[in-house]
Symmetry: C2
Subunit: 80 residues, 2 copies
């Protein structure tokens, strides 16, 4: 069956986030009262799997093997 | 009041997505039955606003002015 996986990959707490900091600074310069900004990546992947559990297991493996860096990233997976 | 805005910025349908294509190819090489992959950006912004409507209006303005490129991007905003 075909499933759609929505993966969000974000930096772990305490990691430097230069993109987020730049966005916060730029928005503050534009006059917005921005307290913090954090950048993350969102991936939408369509895949073939036997069932939803199988799809979750595969996508988790993809994240560990290639998509995320477990030293600096947290990731969450939603299967539809 | 302080609000948290969750912004998702993705390429419009039909736009070239080299990052998504590279991810799809790499996952296929690793043996996964991936049909498509699309990359998007997710931003979390904490801001001060009078109410939720005001926050939505400000974040929409931020997206149009700086965060997204309306020619190639669609964006969605969730305020919490």
């Amino acid at each position: 069956m075909r499933y759609c996986a929505e993966i969000t990959i974000q930096l772990k707490q305490g990691m430097l986030d230069p993109e987020g900091e730049t966005i916060q600074r730029a928005l503050t310069h534009l006059g917005y009262a921005v307290k913090s900004a954090h950048a993350a990546k969102r991936l939408l992947i369509e895949l073939e799997a036997d069932d939803a559990d199988d799809a979750t297991r595969m996508v988790d493996e993809m994240c560990r093997k290639m998509l995320a860096n477990p030293v600096i990233h947290n990731y969450s997976i939603v299967i539809r």
